[in-house]
């Protein structure tokens, strides 16, 4: 799609992938941080990771397996808390541990079988060996994420404001909430091969955290977070490929630096003395 800008095919595909993955993740990052479900996002990212590892081991489609695992976790959290009499926080910690164990077991096992090369991408992301279809899929998820927020904007903002108040004004909180979790599972699974299971979480939290330093309004956060994420991710891809550095880890580091700078520059924290 961006061939007219970037001649090198590999670089072009890498930039496209990072661009669309980062926009989709950044939009969801606003929801994740504002509804305060980062531990759910965290656990779902690792469930997708485990799903992909199992899928790869069994030679099934890793993306489909990670979608199934991510959604599975979303629907396990509630019942697990009830049945095992655990707080949601504890059950998420538990699920996270189980997912990590499963993922690491299969990745380590595949390495002893000499299939280690393909598992590296799962861990640290891979922007080099992408199929055209994978990039189209990322474009689709990007559009779906934008449409999701636009179509359910009232409901999403009310839930972000306060779940109980949202329910009391007649909003169907539960279906919208589960739709959010479904969107997170889908996005996480599709972005996993590019960003990698160990770093995905950076894309799901930092863009919103940066936007929060400059935005007073939710609507502006939904614009600033994807914009920042797109700029950072595209820069990360270009710099990484130019200097042969690992792209996703490099981008994660740039995200962290931008976040620290944003905190220092944040007008929301600055105390101003004015008489009027």
């Amino acid at each position: 799609m961006l061939e007219f800008l970037i001649q090198n095919n590999i670089v072009c595909h890498a930039v496209e992938a990072m661009l669309f993955a980062s926009i989709a993740c950044a939009i969801l990052s606003v929801i994740i941080t504002q509804v305060q479900i980062s531990s759910i996002g965290f656990t779902m990212a690792h469930a997708a990771f485990a799903g992909a590892a199992v899928g790869m081991f069994l030679s099934l489609n890793p993306t489909v397996c990670s979608i199934v695992a991510g959604i599975g976790v979303a629907f396990l959290i509630g019942p697990l808390s009830d049945k095992a009499r655990l707080s949601p926080d504890t059950s998420l910690g538990l699920l996270f541990g189980i997912c990590m164990a499963v993922a690491i077991f299969f990745i380590a096992y595949m390495q002893t079988l000499g299939r280690g090369f393909s598992t590296m991408g799962l861990l640290f992301g891979d922007v080099i060996s992408l199929y055209r279809e994978e990039i189209y899929l990322l474009v689709v998820i990007c559009i779906v994420a934008v449409a999701f927020v636009l179509v359910l904007y009232k409901e999403i903002t009310a839930i972000i404001f306060n779940k109980r108040i949202a329910e009391s004004v007649g909003i169907r909180v539960k279906p919208v909430y589960y739709a959010m979790l479904f969107m997170i599972a889908l996005t996480v699974s599709l972005c996993l091969p590019i960003i990698g299971g160990l770093l995905l979480y950076v894309w799901l939290v930092i863009p919103a955290a940066i936007a929060l330093q400059f935005c007073n309004r939710l609507s502006s956060m939904f614009v600033v977070a994807p914009a920042v994420a797109a700029v950072v991710s595209v820069s990360g891809a270009l710099i990484g490929l130019e200097y042969s550095l690992p792209v996703a880890p490099l981008t994660a580091i740039i995200f962290s630096v931008v976040f620290i700078v944003a905190v220092i520059l944040s007008p929301r924290r600055r105390v101003t003395f004015r008489k009027t």
Binding site: Q34, D82, V151, L152, K154, E155, T157, A158, F161, N162, R164, I165, A166, E167, S168, V169, G170, I171, R172, L212, C215, N216, R217, L218, M221, R268
Partner: protein
């Protein structure tokens, strides 16, 4: 002519919190006519908040029958909540909450606007109307987290008024308000009741009640122990007597 159906009707209702082994409300029956002003009293933990959330269907009813505004609460909770305003008990918003007062008040209309629709001109007009009823037009563009507790309470009150509710449930709405604000809100409520809105208010302050017959409901340990009409001046005495009898029982 037969008298109209009560706007709120509970018949031996039991309500249990999710995961609780015993119901919190036990065998509660209540009939309230359109346009009544109901004061709900009783000690902390008696089930007053639980009663309000049973009426608007936010809590699961395990036994009994409940109809509000002609709708079965158990089946059509969402429809009931679109018509019933509910001011939740004591709230404090984080200073960084990214919502302005205007946005919060508009939220009151989201249920009635419905899925996939955008707010229209009439919705924004209702917001302005509610803000001016409470005298907080000047706060419209301020972030809600940076207001005082009393101001936040007024904003949530405005959110409920912007909905033009048929029934208004208020859970200790005076807890953060100064005495002028209390008088103002009481005048406002009297006006609403005059217009045919049914008001149920949980409160521990019984001065400045509207000058009209009110119904007093006193709750204790999850049931209604007193339910009678009286004059506004008698309310405090009725609640006190119920408390004293419980102490000696």
């Amino acid at each position: 002519m037969t008298p109209p159906d009560p706007i709120i009707r509970l018949e031996s209702v039991y309500t249990a919190y999710e995961g609780a082994d015993r119901p919190t409300l036990t065998d509660v029956s209540l009939a309230i006519e359109k346009g009544e002003f109901v004061v709900i009293g009783g000690p902390n933990g008696a089930g007053k908040t639980t009663l309000l959330e049973t009426i608007n269907g936010m809590l699961p009813i395990t036994h009994g029958m409940a109809t509000v505004c002609g709708q079965d609460v158990r089946k059509n909770g969402v429809q009931v909540r679109c018509r019933v305003g509910y001011l939740l008990q004591s709230f404090a918003f984080d200073p960084l909450t990214p919502f302005t007062v205007e946005e919060v008040v508009l939220m009151g209309r989201f249920g009635t606007i419905g899925l996939f629709r955008k707010p229209k001109k009439e919705d924004y007009e209702a917001v302005q109307g509610a803000l001016s009823l409470l005298g907080i037009e000047d706060l419209a563009a301020r972030p809600i987290g940076k207001l005082s507790g009393g101001q936040q309470q007024k904003v949530l009150m405005a959110q409920n008024l912007a909905r033009n509710p048929e029934v208004l449930l208020l859970d200790e709405p005076f807890s953060n308000l100064d005495m002028f604000a209390r008088e103002e809100i009481n005048r406002l409520l009297a006006g609403l009741v005059g217009d045919g809105v049914t008001v149920l208010i949980v409160s521990h302050a019984f001065d400045d009640l509207p000058e009209r017959a009110v119904r007093v409901v006193v709750m204790q340990e999850g049931t209604i122990v007193v339910n009678r009409e009286c004059s506004p001046g008698e309310v405090e005495q009725v609640v006190r007597n119920a408390g004293r009898e419980a102490l000696h029982a």
